[in-house]
Amino acid sequence: MLLEHLHKLNAARESRCAAVTVTELDTGMSKLFLEDETMEEAVVPAVQSALRTGKSGIVEIAGRPVFINVYLPPPRIVVVGAVHISQALAGMATIAGFDLTIIDPRSAFATPERFGQTKLLAEWPEDVLKETPLDAYTALAAVTHDPKIDDFPLKAALDAGCFYVGALGSRKTHAGRVQRLAKLGLDESAISRIHAPIGLDIRASSPAEIAVAILADIIQALRTRDVTAGQRGVE
């Protein structure tokens, strides 16, 4: 791999931009393309397919074996609510390889004492998401129970095509949430994408157990997501 390609690839991954390397296996010649970058026509179908499916592999282009390696942004988890569950989830998600951020405007909850090294933003989701928008490679978990805090990011997550959208709360709480989100203009099929009650049903009880259930739910959504359409945000 050329050094300049590695620099560009690492910078792309850092800025959550998808990238693809195309290597001719017989000559060792290699090219790098970032998503939305123009490329020669011969490689377009293979590169587009790799970007869509996230699958790397060997293809034949003009009768020659070519290895396509696709680098999608690392999956990210945005947690709305700096609550007890989030403390447990932060540690587990990091071990599982996710990039996790917690947002909570209530500064009494969002304290470094409670969260250590975790990326923590004591701001309103409205403000944070303006700076760092959600995307299809992001899971959103809203766990404050407070409509003032949870509703906006839930709508934003559905609009952005987040691969997972979950909301904490009982079925009764969720019924009220469904009505509010409908008033914000979301249709039934969008609202039905919300995982609520949040987390796989493993009868989790303690905050840490609920964090396990949420993380497992997110992993299942990531590994079973429909890669054929609609996963790259609103198109």
């Binding site: 791999m1 050329l2 050094l3 590695l6 620099h7 690839l9 690492n10 991954r13 850092e14 290597t23 296996l25 060792g28 290699s30 699958k55 790397s56 592999g57 060997i58 290895f67 390696n69 696709v70 680098y71 990210r76 990091t94 071990i95 390889g97 990039d99 996790l100 951020t101 090294q117 975790t118 990326k119």
Partner: protein, 109 residues
């Protein structure tokens, strides 16, 4: 990047090693058959002293890849390696899981 990942990413390590003046090879899983421990696209990076980071299997063939990587760093010529239990060298290096993998090893820079 948000947060500090538990394990540094192999390609980031490769960039740092190269910046530090080390010869570096990048090994990549390019094809798998049957049950293979690491998916296509996985990287192992190796320096000229045999330090390595990342994985291309569950630890089954890394030793052999590191040996080949030293030659790739020295010559600059990329090569493709294949491992599997059906291989005649299976008694020496192979995948206990029964799968087969092909690995492309190239020099950085």
């Amino acid at each position: 990047m948000l947060g500090q990942p538990l394990y540094p990413d192999p390609l980031t390590v490769a960039e740092e090693w190269h910046a530090g003046g080390r010869g570096v090879a990048i090994a990549t899983v390019i094809e798998t058959w049957g049950s293979a421990p690491r998916p296509v696209g996985s990287h192992l990076v190796i320096d000229s002293d045999g330090n390595f980071h990342g994985s291309v299997s569950g630890g089954c063939v890394e030793g052999a890849v590191i040996v080949e990587a030293a030659e790739v760093i020295a010559s600059g010529t990329a090569r493709t390696l294949e491992f599997g239990v059906a291989d005649e060298t299976a008694w020496r290096v192979g995948l206990s899981c029964g799968g087969r993998i092909r690995i492309y090893v190239e020099r950085l820079g």
